[in-house]
């Protein structure tokens, strides 16, 4: 580790590793810091990732993480009614997320970034209203590292942005509380994702069964952070106890987590600082997917960082280019999806059952991507007590 870099990236998740790789490819001197002993582990993820997402990001599928093909999904309403969609071609994978994250960090290192695990950023160096570096704690030593730009890719904890004065606190109404098992269990349809909805099953969220092969599954739950005094673990254990064959599943991994499902931050930059990924609340608020979003934002941040440093201007005004381009590419869509989340959380189980009768699987997938919302609004309009929710969508 040197005393000074062009860019210091805090956190080696998909957001940080993509930022570091792209910035290094542009010839910048980059330091990527991760506080955990092992990049990628423990994972906090359902591990769903789409083929289109990989294409857009230019990430080449690698058999070390593309461990199971996904061709469609079953969405299960509270009364058990299934709305299914199976596509003509493969649409995604359930990935080995630990390997995925680790390979992204390896790619960053290969591009020339310095990567350091078990190195924790504990504070920022501020001067004249600019972020000028970080304080790092590494194996009992405390060091100061200068940076022209610091990238806050520190995930759901999101402290770096807050140290710099951007309020990225995860409000309870806008975070999901999640819990998850990886288990060995015989699966009926190993190429389909299963999602179970219901206010008693998973208030403001869902239970997922994402197959990692014929007999291994990622089984988890997300519930609204403020909706129940019972924990996510209690809800998931109750669901598993009632559902064969999962009640006989052999548990090989246990994880918990928080998923930002609010609107993206109103401002993604400050003087000498860019915020990326979960730290910036760049997540799909309906399904909670953030691997693609963090990676996409990271690549954009890496490009803008290179341009800013080339021009010798790391002011907020210059870095706003990242903010503007991100909003045009992803921000508007994510905001629409956030509004959909706010509408859907007003629905009772009876409303959800009604929707399941009116919708196709294609519709549900389209909604989750922020499309066909007009159709959803029309269906909600038919129920007087849902007119308010419908209007919020339009």
């Amino acid at each position: 580790m040197k005393d000074a870099y062009d860019v210091v990236v805090v956190g080696a998740g998909p957001g940080g590793s993509n930022t570091a790789r792209v910035a290094a490819e542009h010839g910048l001197e980059v330091l990527l810091l991760e506080k955990r002993p092992e990049i990628g582990a423990p994972k906090r993820c359902g591990e769903g990732f789409s083929v289109n997402g990989a294409k857009t990001l230019g990430i080449k599928p690698d058999p070390r993480w593309t461990i199971n093909e996904i061709w469609g999904a079953n969405i299960v309403a509270p009364n058990g009614r299934r709305v299914s969609v199976r596509y003509e071609k493969q649409v995604g994978w359930v990935i080995e997320r630990k390997m995925f994250d680790k390979l992204l960090a390896i790619e960053a290192a290969r591009a020339g970034a310095e990567v350091l695990a078990r190195s924790e950023v504990v504070g920022l160096v501020m001067q004249d209203g600019f972020v000028r570096g970080v304080e790092v704690e590494r194996h009992g030593e405390r060091l100061t590292v200068e940076a022209k730009i610091v990238v806050a890719a520190d995930g759901v904890e999101s402290k770096v942005a807050r140290w710099a004065g951007i309020d990225s606190t995860q409000r309870l109404v806008d975070i999901d509380s999640a819990y998850q098992y990886e288990m060995v269990v015989d699966l009926e349809e190993p190429d389909m994702l299963d999602l179970y909805f219901g206010n008693d099953i998973a208030p403001r969220g869902y239970v997922w069964v994402f197959p990692k092969g014929k007999d291994v599954a990622n089984v988890g739950i997300g519930i609204g952070g403020n909706v129940s005094t019972r924990t996510a673990k209690q809800y998931l254990d109750e669901w598993i106890a009632k559902h064969e064959p999962f009640n006989e599943g052999r548990i090989i991994e246990v994880n918990a987590g928080g998923v930002p499902v609010g609107a993206p931050l109103e401002k993604l930059v400050a003087n000498g600082l860019m915020v990326v990924g979960d730290a910036a609340h760049q997540v799909n608020a309906i399904h909670g997917g953030g691997v693609f979003e963090a990676s996409f934002a990271g690549q954009l941040a890496g490009r803008v960082a290179a341009e800013a440093i080339e021009r010798g201007d790391v002011s907020e005004a210059m870095l706003m280019k990242y903010d503007r381009e991100w909003r045009a590419a992803r921000g508007e869509i994510l905001h629409r999806i956030y509004k959909l989340r706010r509408a859907i959380e007003q629905l009772s189980d009876e409303d959800l059952n009604y929707l399941a009768e009116q919708l196709t699987g294609e519709d549900v997938v389209a909604f989750a991507n922020g499309e066909r919302l007009g159709k959803l609004a029309k269906i909600l309009m038919k129920r007087p007590h849902l007119i308010k929710a419908a209007k919020e969508l339009m």
């Binding site: 906090r44 995930g155 904890e157 807050r162 819990y179 952070g225 005094t229 924990t231 918990a256």
Partner: protein, 58 residues
Amino acid sequence: MPRKVDYDLCMSCGGCVGVCPFLALTLEHGIKLIVDEERCTDCGSCTRFCPVGAIREA
């Protein structure tokens, strides 16, 4: 009174760190959750969020 972590339950997920409005929590090395007793206002947000019920009133 500041909140207390039950280390037998805590999964080190970091969600509560993001939720705490007072920056009173730190997940050291991504492993050990520390409550800064000076900063904690006992607001209860972390307890409300925790997926496993690992943060208690003192």
